[in-house]
Amino acid sequence: MKCDVCGKREAAAVVTLRVNNKNTVRRVCAHCVKKLQRGDAYSAQMAVLSMMQPPAEEITCPLCGRTSTDLIRSGRVGCALCYRVFEPVIQPLAVRMNGAMQHTEAKPEEETPRNERAQRIAALRDEMFAAVNQEAYERAAQLRDEIRQLESENSGEE
């Protein structure tokens, strides 16, 4: 009998996944047993999926051919489109795993005087190196002093 999780290797053990006092039995290969016993996010995902019922009507991804049953069994999607196709399965899983419905984008870096100064320092450095390459040493020295001034303002704020 093939492994319930990877579907590739022969099953070698029976594993009981327990969620909310409900048990689900899976026949798995030696390799997948190790993965399920890691106690990390993957194990948690497999436990949650084991309790999920496949949708009443089997869904198939038109791009990679993966089915909703495959997803619930293996915990893997086959392509980027699967996320849209299997949303009825993935959305509740994401909520269960993360307690969140949706991804949160990182806020863009705040425009503080410190950040502005850092950007200005970087620009001045480029200009200074360009001046050195052109042998405009007087201009390079001016830029160096300006950089030092900005750097001392930054370290003063720390």
Partner: protein, 319 residues
């Protein structure tokens, strides 16, 4: 002396939008993912070692796995390639379970210094192909449990006292309450890792892992202080037993050497009268993590026997 937070690692899981998520099974997908990664890294200016994962010696693979620079799944990817930066602090795993796994490791235990290294490489890798991302699920990964930020941040914590006084379940609850998992790896060594990857941005996530790590370290510190005040025999006994192992054992494997280090380090924080120094304990950590080749370089023989011999020498003050 290193104690409490031993090291930190951050990984970003990314996939190319136009490639199927079947790199371990398809040679074609793996080849394309590897080519793109190679092109991006060539342009990065840093030098990376090209390591075909299937040909990697077991010891090296385990070492990289321990540093979380390589995933445990890498060994199942026959066409997977690890690009390891020469300083062994950054690694890009291509064509493993996900197309790309960008990892950074910090021996000083600072998560915040790992993330910029990963983000910088991600930007370079993105230039060779659009990464799969959706508004609702964020970065799309092979396992939906990684979708969102696709970020795994982990701290290797040294919590021997928590384990010794059976407070690990309580510590696990603290971690679970913050959306994290605490996995006991070896007696006293625990890996704290975020379980939640969605609904929270990268910086908040890193901050939360660091804060939870701090919380667990505070718990450990409190338990050690209490043991010190009471001169608790239940704590000192395993410490002295480990000292005995280090001092007299004839064979010490890597895991056991880690345990000896763990207990000896604990001993130094719960008692003033220990027959060894911080420096000796640190040397045992180094010996625990030496590879077979390093151990047998000057002294041919079984690495565990040589390790035990060198630990005995360290603990007897070089005699």
């Amino acid at each position: 002396m290193m104690d409490y937070v031993l090291n930190a690692a951050v990984s970003l899981l990314r996939n190319y939008e136009d490639l199927p998520f079947d790199a371990p099974d398809s040679e074609e997908t793996a080849r394309r993912a590897v080519e793109r990664a190679a092109t991006a890294l060539e342009r990065s200016g840093d030098s990376f070692a090209y390591l075909p994962v299937a040909d990697l010696p077991v010891e090296k693979r385990l070492e990289l796995e321990e540093k979380r620079l390589l995933s445990a799944e890498a060994q199942d990817a026959p066409h997977g390639i690890a690009y390891l930066r020469m300083d062994e602090k950054v690694c890009v795993e291509a064509a493993s379970e996900d197309h790309l796994r960008i990892s950074a490791f910090d021996a000083a235990g600072k998560l915040q210094s790992c993330y910029p290294l990963c983000a910088d490489l991600e930007e370079r890798l993105e230039n060779t192909g659009k990464l799969a991302k959706s508004e609702a699920f964020g970065f799309l990964t092979v396992h939906p449990c990684d979708a969102g930020t696709g970020l795994r941040a982990s701290l290797l914590l040294h919590l021997p006292m928590t384990v010794l006084v059976k407070q690990l379940p309580a510590a696990m609850k603290v971690a679970a309450g913050a959306g994290m998992t605490l996995i006991s790896r070896n007696k006293g060594l625990c890996l704290l890792e975020n379980r939640v990857t969605m609904g929270i941005d990268e910086n908040t996530l890193l901050q939360r892992v660091s804060e939870t790590g701090d919380k667990l370290c505070t718990l450990e510190r409190g338990l050690r202080t209490r043991a010190r005040e009471r001169s608790d025999v239940a704590v000192l006994d395993p410490v002295w037993r480990s000292y005995g192992t280090g001092r007299y054992a004839l064979r010490i494997g890597r895991g056991e050497a880690e345990q000896v280090w763990s207990m000896l380090t604990l001993g130094l924080s719960v008692s003033d009268v220990m027959p060894y120094t911080e420096q000796m304990a640190d040397e045992i950590w180094t010996l625990a993590h030496m590879t077979q080749a390093q151990l047998t370089q000057d002294h041919p023989g079984h690495p565990d026997i040589i390790r035990a011999q060198r630990i005995r020498t360290v603990l007897s003050g070089g005699k």
